[in-house]
């Protein structure tokens, strides 16, 4: 017998930007939508106050989860035992569980992938190809950029080859670029001498007022929280989805996707309330958008969608190094937003046959915290302390790098055999390593850092060339592909195993490129939502 009564047309699991964009799109097109969010809802002003009073985070250091809710039933990722590492490299990304998700504390970078990123195996003989092309995703990139109010440079060659505008776009960015700060101008001019181009970073900050967001005025705290909401965050579309008619239930921890007796579809979604009451809801379709780690965890808990054995595997990030220096001239980092541009020299090319591509992100932070800590550690006090803080802050340059990784089944999250959450459910184990493809790119970074130091007359303040810092860009864990034997979802984001189950997270990306994956995750989510719309 065919079921005809449902609690909703679509249940969306997760109210982060990826889930909320899809929920909004479905709701505004007349579908009934329920959003289930494990975490709670907190207004921005409380987070700003929490940031100022927590003492364990600054705009460029510390625990970025700290100012945010951390409920027993929805812990943030740095709670002990939430993730247990077993591999050679620790992997615990910053991650929030609350209405709006982790884009509460992102840097706002909104990158498109390049056409070549979709054909890594075909072009360079490594990794995997996507089952779709850039052209398939471009309309959804465009749509997401409008939804989020993305600012970008319409003349930039984002492939880093100093050519014409690239990649192709059907329309200009909806928001004009922000003015380049004096710091960015000086950085650009100094490194250009060495053949390094500085490219404006596409971002989700409002150059001018955009919808309900004010223009950015350079509070220099984009992460862990933009105090005025000029920078886009996922709560915007959670609210917009509600206004369009979606029902958002917070503090609802989904713990099971129930299969139909034949196993071909998802019959229901089960969640727990904080008082450990279980609730069962049904929908025609289910969209799981619960982050690249919690999504595979839920699937493994439910024994869902894993005929390939790939759920949780192929974990990728952009692990790399970082450099802080004191330059030879006052450039005054820290005026304006915390990041404005990147060096994209190694974003694409035949070198990808041998090593991953590289992106150097140039920070624009107020450096006072780290500088003061350093000077105090040297015993500097008295009037000299102020003098040196100013001297060094004026010359502060910080950059961190990103490296493309390849999907490897051995890099994986799995269910913990011993650690349990608030509801008694298994938490996560992670095994993670950086392979030779990425390590070879690390050698290029070493050379670049030496060049940057020369070009800027820099004195090393702190240089990490050995610890593989992750960038909180998890990908690959519910990987997309054409072959059900080695992938979890198809090109639509639909489970190979369950016709009415869609997965929307950066975890479905089968190739990592080297740019922040949020915009691509969002475009994929809207693409899945458009497919679902046609079927309901």
């Amino acid at each position: 017998m065919t079921q005809t009564d449902y609690d909703a047309d679509v249940i969306v699991v997760g109210s982060g930007v990826i889930g909320s964009l899809a929920a909004h799109h479905l709701a505004k097109n007349g579908k009934s939508v329920i959003i289930l969010e494990a975490g709670t809802r907190v207004p921005r002003w409380k987070i700003v106050e929490s940031f100022r009073e927590c003492g364990n985070v600054s705009t460029d250091a510390g625990n970025r989860n700290q100012p945010y809710p951390n409920e027993p039933w929805a812990p943030s990722s740095f709670v002990p035992d939430y993730i247990t590492n077993h591999g050679p490299i620790d992997y615990i990304p910053g991650m929030l569980r609350m209405v709006g998700g982790t884009t509460w504390h992102w840097g706002g970078a909104c990158w498109r992938l390049l056409p070549n990123d979709f054909h890594l195996k075909s072009l360079y003989g490594v990794g995997r190809d996507w089952p779709i092309s850039y052209d398939d995703l471009e309309p959804f990139y465009h749509q997401v950029e409008i939804e989020m109010g993305v600012s970008g440079d319409d003349t930039a060659d984002y492939s880093g080859q100093n050519g014409g505008a690239f990649p192709p776009r059907q329309a200009p960015y909806p928001v004009r670029p922000q003015a380049l700060g004096y710091f960015s101008q000086r950085f650009r001019d100094r490194v250009a001498v060495g053949g390094y181009s500085f490219t404006y970073q596409p971002n989700g900050r409002a150059t001018d007022p955009y919808e309900e967001r004010p223009a950015c005025v350079g509070n220099n705290n984009c992460s862990p929280v933009c105090p005025i909401g000029a920078q886009y965050s996922g709560d915007r579309h959670a609210t917009k989805a509600e206004r369009a008619g979606a029902k958002l239930i917070s503090d609802a921890t989904v713990y099971r996707l129930e299969k139909t007796p034949d196993g071909k579809r998802i019959a229901a979604v089960h969640y727990y309330t904080p008082d450990k009451r279980s609730v069962r809801l049904t929908a025609r379709k289910v969209l799981v958008a619960a982050h690249a780690l919690e999504t595979p965890r839920l699937m493994l808990l439910s024994d869902v969608g894993n005929s390939s054995g790939m759920v949780g595997r192929n974990l990728m990030d952009h692990n790399a190094f970082s450099l802080a220096m004191i330059a030879d001239e006052p450039m005054w980092s820290g005026r304006g937003p915390v990041q404005q541009g990147d060096v994209l020299k190694w974003r694409d090319g035949s070198f990808r046959q041998k090593h991953g591509c590289i992106r150097h992100e140039v920070g624009n932070f107020v450096g006072n915290v780290q500088i003061t800590e350093r000077l105090l550690s040297q015993g500097v006090i008295g009037p000299e302390l102020d003098e040196k803080i100013r001297h060094m802050a004026a010359r502060w340059v910080f950059m961190d790098s990103n490296i493309e990784m390849l999907p490897e089944p051995t890099n994986r999250m799995s269910l913990s055999a011993s650690k349990r959450d608030f509801y008694g459910l298994p938490l996560m184990d992670i095994y993670y390593d950086v392979n030779d493809y990425a390590r070879a790119a690390g050698n290029v970074i070493r050379e670049d850092y030496a060049n940057f130091l020369k070009l800027l007359g820099g004195e090393i303040f702190d240089q990490n060339l050995s610890l593989w810092e992750n960038r909180d860009h998890p990908m690959g864990t519910v990987i997309m592909g054409n072959d059900p034997r080695d992938s979890v979802v198809n090109h639509e984001g639909r489970s190979h195993d369950h016709d009415n189950l869609f997965i929307a997270t950066t975890g479905i990306m089968p190739a990592a490129s080297v740019v922040n994956p949020t915009l691509t995750g969002c475009a994929l989510s809207l693409r899945s939502a458009s497919i679902m719309l046609k079927e309901i």
Partner: protein
């Protein structure tokens, strides 16, 4: 404003007294918990000398003290050593401290640095990037002294200093910085 006087430095030792007995110091009731209302009577004066800052906010002193003793069980005794040494050397100003030779005494100077660090960083304890527990003792954010030497050019993050795009112009001080 509290003046740095020899009497303040030498007259009280470090016995705890309610802050209000120091005279001229009061603040909103929400600013301090009961536990935070005490600090050694010479703590503000010594802090002012070591930070070269006669304008230190007296309301903040008990909070700074409380943070220091919260994160270091031995701090009270350590501070007594610093206080005694400064009294013995008749230190009334930063130049006095410099001239005293105490900065060359590693243990004594480390106590001075701890006091200064608390005022400058607005917290005591190391920032822990991946921890929610054993985090620093918080004192103040915008009141941390580390911001003061750059406030004419950059912002205390989360606060603003100009309208959109102000950052495109070179800071007026750039030629002399």
């Amino acid at each position: 404003m509290m003046r740095t006087t020899r009497r303040r430095l030498l007259g009280y030792g470090v016995a705890f007294v309610p802050l209000c007995l120091m005279g001229g110091v009061s603040g909103p009731s929400w600013a301090l918990t009961e536990k935070e209302k005490g600090c050694p009577p010479d703590f503000l004066a010594i802090s002012a000398i070591l930070t070269a800052s006669p304008e230190l906010n007296p309301i903040m002193a008990p909070r700074v003290w409380h943070a220091l003793i919260t994160k270091d069980d031995a701090f009270m005794a350590r501070y007594r050593r610093l206080s005694d040494e400064m009294a013995a050397h008749r230190i009334r100003s930063w130049p006095d401290y410099e001239a005293s030779g105490l900065s060359a005494q590693k243990e004594i100077h480390s106590i001075a640095v701890a006091v200064v660090g608390a005022w400058y960083l607005g917290r005591v304890g190391e920032v822990l990037p991946r921890s929610e527990i054993n985090t620093p003792a918080f004192i103040t954010y915008e009141g941390a002294l580390m911001w003061r030497s750059t406030r004419d050019v950059t912002v205390i993050p989360t606060y603003a200093r100009g309208g959109p795009g102000f950052w495109a112009e070179a800071p007026s001080s750039v030629k002399t910085d």
